[in-house]
Point group: C2
Chain length 400, copies 2
């Protein structure tokens, strides 16, 4: 009855577990949500009222599949720092970045098509590619992002339809691709005519150090499809994101989007456009940076204070996530179940790894919890960990 | 480089021609747009302001893939007349009905999967099914909708994944499926375990006679996926539509939507929900009915007055479209090019026919033009037709 792809589609084990986290008293460090108290609510109320009084029914009518022209012009101008040769034909609006991933899958993936990702990689991208029955090969990453030596090695054996990569503050690890690697990656892409999908939802959320140039701008657009979104800097419920690429690829994405949902919601596009015109966007991003930066610092301090030395973690320069490695042999899913009993949740890392590794890893979100809850949540995880370690030591004795 | 499905994806010839219709002075009877002056703008402004002040950031945050629960409850209540055994697990919100078609294609179509449609059928559905490389077999229709005798005949030879059908005021023909045929179709579906996708965007826009019960309600949900939308009765730019089906199918659609765009825009869902709560929806639908009804009557009168007797058309009881047959041998695409020179446009019918027939047919839209423009537009088409006929009669003489 169902198509083949649906037989492979299964509800995520993580999602099923995390349904348990809705109960009161739960501190969730699991979600991937931006903090709702950081949405520019007043400015969006003003923008919305202005849109409806100024544009009236036009902001509620069908509009073109490519997206609102003034909004695409603003996006282009922002990209233009290093891609001045581009026009609005290089930009289209999508229904969140997830839709861009879906449309790219539609464009490039037949059943069995090989694609490369990082290891670990973003779950939503893996989902979209798997829906189109891709074969996914994951390239190892380290603290500087994808390992270009491993990529070269993999390309010697086989060529994928594209490489999917998050260059800034990756979901799940929070890791960014170093500048050297960005240059090297573009060299490799040129040599091998490798198409790169650069997904950059968190790039603006940098807390320290400088914002690194995108692959798209460094490569002047060639071989790179760039994705970003207003979900993390304005509000996700508007579902306004964008893709930038060659006009040929944007043209094909537009035809695919026509048959997919006709267009992104008109009102959301008008609201984002009006809000950007208010000129308060950069100031608001700075506020988010300071707030999320303080939350990250709080989490780092709490980890140091409450977690046993056998657990390690990284220190992302921005974004919304931090990456944890429990002692090898730990099963993060089991640990999560115990943590949920103590009213704290995180996301186990394994499902992010296309190769099935990473059973002892976890993703922690610091953007959507108060400083108090971050501290208390980490304290609880620490307590569960020590408790578990205690049991683990006791058990062999009991069994002997 | 591209996936196989993309090689088959081509820009519609109609769309390319209709790009010429943007110039000033053009009377377009071609579009499929609801009249923007009929959007309940004041009520939507009020609803939007209320949503943002009452729900604040919640209306701008990520929300669940299935869609806003109070909105699904309202939809269910409206469907419930004949399907009281259903719960909100039988309803999901989609990003316009086009997305529902895309998700259903994802669910049921592998490369080469056979699907049945009416002949002619809705272009957006054909696009969505073709993107998933369906084989489309079209069942003949007449003035009472799909011919159930022909459907029986076709089912004797082969079984499709589903039958896609618009039961009310079909796009493009404006034809509705008669009540007898509805019952017979459900009998056939039961006998053959045939899944029916019932697409009903225009069902509320009935000008005369009674509103017929949906297949979904007549069949108490069994074997039927029901699609409808708020695009034609509230505003399309909000992109809020819905699917109703068995909880099993809705569950699978939800998983597919998760990887497709995460969720429909939150703000649009809240606005539609708030607007429906105002209790003014039915009154507004009645206003649309009267307005569109008057525009249909105006078009019928103009057709009678201005078009040569060799051209025939139907008289839809509702919806947005009317169907025209020029004399056999006429090429509607050629005629459209001549009409565009005289600043009037319609949609040639051929692309709506999966079997490639219908070269002499055309779709006329009466919902989105003033009475003056409808009269003048039809007058111009009549003039071009007579002019063309004159040429056609002259030519043989000249050639002799």
């Amino acid at each position: 009855m169902y198509a083949e792809r649906i037989k492979e589609l299964k509800s995520s084990a993580i999602r099923d577990i995390l349904k348990l986290t809705a109960r009161p008293g739960m501190i969730s460090l699991a979600g991937g949500l931006p903090a709702p108290e950081m949405f520019p609510l007043d400015a969006l109320q003003t923008a919305t009222a202005q849109v409806l009084s100024r544009y009236g029914s036009t902001a509620l009518q069908y509009s073109i599949t490519e997206g609102l022209i003034p909004l695409r012009e603003k996006i282009l101008k922002n990209l233009n720092g290093n891609a001045a040769h581009h026009t609005i034909d290089n930009v289209m609006i999508t229904q969140g970045s997830q839709q861009a991933l879906e449309l790219l899958a539609k464009l490039f993936i037949d059943k069995g098509t090989l694609v490369f990702t990082e290891n670990p990689s973003y779950l939503g991208a893996l989902q979209a590619f798997r829906l189109f029955q891709a074969r996914i090969a994951a390239i190892p990453s380290d603290e500087d992002g994808i390992r270009t030596d491993a990529l070269r090695e993999a390309l010697r054996r086989q060529k994928p339809a594209f490489l999917y990569i998050m260059t800034n503050f990756q979901n799940p690890t929070g890791v960014s691709l170093s500048l050297d690697r960005r240059h090297e990656l573009l060299e490799i892409a040129k040599e091998h005519e490798l198409l790169i999908i650069e997904d950059d939802p968190y790039g603006e959320l940098v807390f320290e150090g400088e914002k690194l140039p995108s692959l798209y701008s460094l490569g002047r657009g060639g071989n790179v499809v760039y994705l970003s979104t207003f979900s993390k800097t304005i509000a996700p419920g508007l579902r306004v994101a964008f893709a930038a690429a060659s006009s040929e690829i944007i043209g094909k994405l537009t035809m695919a989007k026509q048959g997919t949902d006709l267009q992104t919601n008109t009102l959301g596009q008008y609201i984002v456009n009006e809000y950007l015109e208010s000129g308060r966007h950069q100031e608001h991003i700075d506020l988010i940076r300071r707030t999320y930066g303080a939350r990250r610092d709080c989490m780092l301090a709490a980890l140091k204070k409450h977690l046993p030395g056998s657990t390690t973690w990284n220190r992302p320069r921005g974004g919304m996530f931090l990456w944890l490695a429990f002692p090898p042999g730990t099963d993060s899913k089991d640990l999560l179940l115990r943590c949920i009993e103590h009213n704290v949740a995180f996301v186990p890392g394994q499902e992010f790894f296309p190769d099935g590794s990473g059973a002892h890893t976890a993703r922690l979100n610091f953007s959507n919890a108060s400083l108090e809850n971050i501290e208390e949540g980490i304290r609880r995880i620490g307590a569960v960990l020590r408790d578990t370690a205690g049991h683990a030591e006791e058990q062999p004795e009991m069994l002997l």
